[in-house]
């Protein structure tokens, strides 16, 4: 009885895995077909064609796009993580008037879609003279990343035993020392998870860069990819190779750090 049940749940799980991987497998499969392939179905031909990747890289100018997106992520991730840790600690460690309202005010930001603020951003950033630069994506994303980060860090800090900070504050340590010497060393994994999310979200982000960066040489990978797909819509294998090129770093990054992302969300998000 137990054996049948276990076999049954395993097959459900495998079915779910296959369903999840199917679209990714389909474009990977197609990306290896010769440029003349017309069918977008899954086929198993023998002569696999890795040339599409070289062509896509060159024709889509993905080197430049990679650099642009990497630059944006490299600025956003450390700053956003740092601010979120500080803010989360502020909400965890202190009591102050209207703390609950201020926290809810941050939470409100999680429900605000970027679509709702992109038009004023367009004009605001234009008057600051930074439209069409990486800053026009970096600054709003930094602001937009704060609500989740503060929520995430605060709920992690709140799960720590209270005595740690209490003991140190009796010893006369300042609040900043407590954060630095006591809280941070035991929060490495939560902080790492947060920065991985920030990296993935900033790399994957689309709408702000599409509207706020029109200059083709400054585009990010996602906006560059949609332009590429529009341009080579007839050459499906090439288009799939381009898509794989954009998602490969995220998938690799995710697999390397999967301990911190999957487990992080499953243990940490629901408190």
């Amino acid at each position: 009885m137990i054996k049948i049940e276990s076999a049954l749940s395993k097959s459900f799980l495998i079915l779910m895995v296959l369903f999840t991987i199917l679209p990714v497998f389909a474009i990977f499969n197609l990306s290896l077909q010769p440029a003349t392939a017309l069918s977008t179905g899954i086929s198993f031909s023998r002569n696999l064609n890795f040339h599409n990747y070289l062509d896509a890289w060159r024709m889509g100018n993905f080197g430049q796009l990679y650099l642009n997106s990497l630059g944006i992520s490299l600025v956003i991730v450390p700053i956003a993580t740092c601010f979120a840790v500080l803010g989360g600690f502020g909400f965890y460690y202190f009591n102050f008037r209207n703390k609950k309202y201020l926290f809810n005010f941050f939470l409100l930001g999680m429900t605000l879609p970027y679509e709702a603020i992109v038009i004023p951003l367009y004009y605001g950033l234009n008057s600051l003279g930074i439209l069409n630069t990486s800053w026009s994506v970096i600054l709003p994303l930094l602001g937009g990343f704060m609500p989740f980060g503060i929520f995430w860090m605060r709920s992690y800090f709140s799960s720590l035993p209270n005595e740690l900070a209490e003991a140190a504050s009796i010893d006369g340590a300042s609040s900043f020392q407590i954060l630095l010497k006591i809280i941070l060393p035991i929060s490495k994994s939560a902080i790492l998870s947060l920065s991985i999310f920030y990296y993935i979200w900033s790399w994957n982000h689309f709408i702000l860069s599409m509207i706020l960066i029109q200059d083709a040489t400054r585009r990010t990978v996602t906006t560059g990819l949609t332009a590429f797909v529009g341009q080579y819509s007839q050459n499906l294998p090439l288009l799939c190779a381009g898509t794989m090129t954009v998602i490969a770093p995220t998938i690799l990054f995710f697999i390397i750090f999967q301990r911190h992302t999957v487990k992080g969300i499953l243990d940490g998000a629901v408190k």
Binding site: I2, S6, S9, K10, F12, L13, M16, V17, T20, I21, P23, V24, A26, L38, T40, G41, I42, F83, A84, L86, G87, G90, F94, N95, F96, L102, G109, M110, T111, P113, E115, A116, I117, V118, I119, P120, G124, L139, P140, G143, G144, M146, I170, S175, I200, N204, F206, V221, T222, L225, V246, T250, I251, F254, Q258, T261, L266, D267, A269, V270
Partner: protein, 291 residues
Amino acid sequence: MKKGRDSGFEAILFVIPALSFYLLFVITPWISAISFSFFNWDGIGSAVWNGFKNYSEVFHDPEQINSIKHSVVLIGFFSVVPVTLGLILANLISNLRATSLIGRISRVIIFLPQVLPLIAVGIAWKLMYASQGVINQFLRNVGLEESTRGWLGDFNFALPAIGFVGIWLGSGLCLLLFNSGIQKIDQHLFEAVQIDGGGRIRAFISVTLPSLRPEIRFASTITMIAALSGFDLVYVMTSGGPGGATLVPGLEVFRLAFAYHRFGQACALAVVLSLITFLFILLVNRLLKDI
């Protein structure tokens, strides 16, 4: 609480970097969207006060009201179906330990849709739905030749087809969340039901469901936000077509502003979109707080 912890001044020093970026680049633009929404403005000339007319237009212009209706349909696909499916599947596989090899590998793969850019997801699914794509290939192979079609070009099937991508996006996350939630439930509760002579369904309703409330709340919130901000997916899959059948508010805001140059109108719809998102999230969290 200890004295040092009551310093509001010190607290502000910690919160201020986050707060200032949040205020400057999220809240300020949102407030100016609200103020734009009361004007008629083509983006070049001077803005003309228009009162609440843009708002009444949101609910009278077929394009805009339809986009809102579509996003409610998408909530069903992106949120209701994955949460329900996730609950059923998580219950079915609850006896499978998460530490087994197959458990570990599968949770990594099932989590994958969460980390892929929606643009790439849209491109992949667009090819899946193409007339020579995987979906039709499958239908032909199982003898349902007459059901094949160009899914995204079909007026009746385009929106459900995009919705199905939402099921693909959300179900795995829900399954994993609920599965890890079930592992945390005290086994004695299930035994108590068994002693009372209750079966699996009784156990599900009186133990599993109430215990999973925080996970269900979290999953519904995340998937609903995804449903209501469907810009990326729709933009790359159909651009709102055919004939506006898949227009969603996010995309319509973009069109109103940058194709029709009706910036005030676009902002009114943007404000309505953010209010709808906020209300839905509030509702879900209230409903699931005390069942």
